[in-house]
């Protein structure tokens, strides 16, 4: 049986989004080919698979969310180094199952790493991370000088 890369886009019947997906999947293909390759901060990461990540900015904080289904909290490491946030870890295969007993293996396992350069400085000592239903949420309050300041302009 030939091994083909699992492609969720194949299932969707929506034509415009499928074209957009092709570009995204192309990027993912190259990502996996170079085994992690260049991260956003310019460093090379060693990873087998890449979790999908969203970054949102609120007025006083950044919120980073990563899709990490079936990962133990102990296997996730979050580090912040001069404005570069790195989320790395390992998704382990369940030990209770023998390899012979698998009939189908589609889920990705192994080490992962994503790094992001944040636009402004954050308070490194008040970073909060939580994991629920397979989503890791990292909340980083902005440093005082990075918060938006409301300047009142008086019209003469």
């Amino acid at each position: 049986m030939a091994l083909i890369r699992w492609n969720p886009a194949r299932e969707s019947s929506n034509l415009p989004s499928e074209l957009w997906n092709i570009e995204r999947d192309f990027n993912r293909l190259f990502e996996g080919f170079f085994r992690g390759g260049m991260q956003d901060d310019g460093s090379f990461g060693l990873s087998v698979w890449s979790p999908a990540v969203d970054i949102a900015e609120k007025e006083n904080e950044y919120v980073v969310k990563a899709e990490l289904p079936g990962v133990n909290k102990e296997d996730v490491k979050i580090t912040l180094e001069s404005n570069i946030l790195t989320i790395r870890g390992e998704k382990r295969q369940e030990k209770d199952v023998k390899e012979d007993d698998y009939r189908r293996m589609e889920r990705m396992y192994g080490s992962f790493q994503r790094s992001f350069t944040l636009p402004t400085t954050v308070k490194s000592d008040s970073i909060d991370a939580s994991y629920k239903d397979g989503i890791l949420t990292v909340t980083m309050p902005k440093a005082e000088e990075a918060k938006p300041k409301h300047i009142e302009v008086k019209v003469k």
Binding site: A56, V63, R104, G134
Partner: protein
């Protein structure tokens, strides 16, 4: 004042229309691992970020259907800088072979993984035959 009220009404209407159709929601086939034990088939399906209440697992003698909706990730007030996680609707059908007890299927959702256990009927169970 009246002008502001009108635009707010229009905005609200547009939002409700979008919510009903929601072209941003994408149907995705979740990745699944399947393994066999002497008593059952076990499925582990990656469905991160799914609302527990939206998960539906239905089974009959021929097929097992799994679905779930991954809800909104960000607050409305947040400015999304970078996005890879699309709002999606997970859906997958597994065809079941004979000798599986669809009425005794069990499912649990943990850490974003849906674990479904499909027990085998008595005849299908693996029996170790002792050698006299």
């Amino acid at each position: 004042m009246t002008k502001n009220n009108n635009s707010a009404l229009i905005r609200r209407d547009n939002n409700s229309l979008a919510r009903r159709i929601d072209p941003t929601e994408k149907r995705v086939t979740p990745a699944a691992d399947v393994f066999e034990t002497p008593e059952a088939f076990v499925l582990r399906v990656d469905m991160p970020g799914v609302d527990r209440d939206s998960i539906r697992v239905t089974a009959d003698s021929a097929r097992l259907e799994i679905s779930g909706k991954a809800g909104t990730l960000h607050a409305d007030t947040a400015n999304v800088l970078f996005t890879e996680i699309v709002k999606k609707s997970y859906y997958r059908v597994f065809n079941l072979t004979s000798g599986l007890a669809a009425d005794r299927v069990e499912a649990e959702f943990e850490n974003g993984v849906l674990i479904v256990v499909i027990p085998k009927s008595e005849q299908r169970k693996t029996k170790t035959i002792p050698i006299r």
